[in-house]
Amino acid sequence: MRIIVNGHECDREASTLADLLETEGFSPEFVATAVNGEFVPRDARAGTRLNEGDAVEVVSPRQGG
């Protein structure tokens, strides 16, 4: 299934957002997530199914001004 992760188009089988984080090796407690522009809280990741063409954001803390 083709999805977009942080702007990269790729082919993944993860059925939920939680699966994706795990298979991609993101540490769930250090990142925040959004799907198709909408924030997905930590506890909703497992219940968030991914579909063809979904755009997923996985972000973590960085320097800022």
Partner: protein, 261 residues
């Protein structure tokens, strides 16, 4: 003490964490700035990752300061709102420095998207620190949206031009005597920061002028001193400027004067 919503801090200097030559330089700059609040951001994590963000987050936590996450780089209210929500979850704070960029050349805020996002975030329980211009009407809308802190620019981000429109800033301070006003962006030298504090602004937020100095930690301390100086001067009551000279040394009794005395 200066108030940011229900929090009071002693330091009137908010420092950014970007563009330092090294993490050590950043850490030392924060220490010498005596800042109690630093700004941070969220960026995409690299696949297989979590490490980069992790390391930075640990560094910041070790500094023992409050964090003010920003929405830097957002160009729409929707992106800003969702970035704010992600920030609240990761950083565990409802504070958000709301930036919605409206023009690439000046990085000036988009007043329309800014007000819209501020409304939505305030309704969602955020404590919003909006990065705005000196426009009084936009500022009124932000206050109406629930903002208790306003952050007008001194000059465009990263320019170091200082206070580009002192007249406008002066009027803004007069117009909002009760709101916490932070001059954010464009400050290039301690004298600029001191001048803003002398006008009665509550605090200063800056990043580039410290991070890109030859010696960032020393520059951080310089700004800290200047901000304290400006505030102290504001409270100590500055003299009135006059047009003609007035002798400081007593005129009466000068030696060799033809007059008795």
């Amino acid at each position: 003490m200066v108030r940011f919503y229900d929090t009071e801090v002693a330091s009137r200097f908010l420092l950014g964490t970007a563009r330092y030559p090294s993490p050590e330089s950043l850490a030392e700059a924060v220490r010498r700035s005596r800042a109690e609040i630093v700004t941070v951001s969220l960026r995409r994590e690299s696949v297989g990752g979590g490490k980069v963000g992790h390391a930075f987050w640990d560094l910041v936590k070790d500094l023992g300061v409050k964090v003010l996450p920003n929405t830097a780089g957002c160009h729409t209210a929707r992106d800003a709102v969702n970035t704010a929500r992600m920030a609240r979850e990761v950083f565990g704070t409802s504070w958000i420095k709301l930036e919605v960029i409206g023009d690439e050349g000046t990085l000036q805020p988009d007043p329309f998207a800014l007000v819209e996002a501020a409304r939505e975030l305030a309704a969602d329980g955020f404590q919003v620190f909006p990065y705005t211009t000196e426009d009084l009407v936009v500022a009124e809308r932000l206050v109406a949206a629930g903002c208790r802190v306003l952050m007008p620019w001194g000059a465009p981000i990263g320019t170091g031009r200082g206070l580009n429109n002192t007249y406008g800033l002066r009027l803004m301070r007069r117009h909002f005597p009760e709101t916490t006003l932070v001059v954010d962006a464009g400050i290039g030298a301690p004298s600029h920061a001191a001048a803003a504090m002398e006008m009665g602004f509550d605090a200063i937020l800056l990043n580039t002028a410290v991070a890109t100095a030859s010696d960032p930690p020393a520059m951080a301390e310089a700004f800290a001193e200047a901000i304290r100086a400006g505030r102290r001067a504001f409270e100590a009551g500055l003299m009135e400027e006059t047009d003609l000279a007035v002798a400081s040394t007593p005129v009466f009794g000068a030696p060799f004067s033809p007059f008795a005395g």
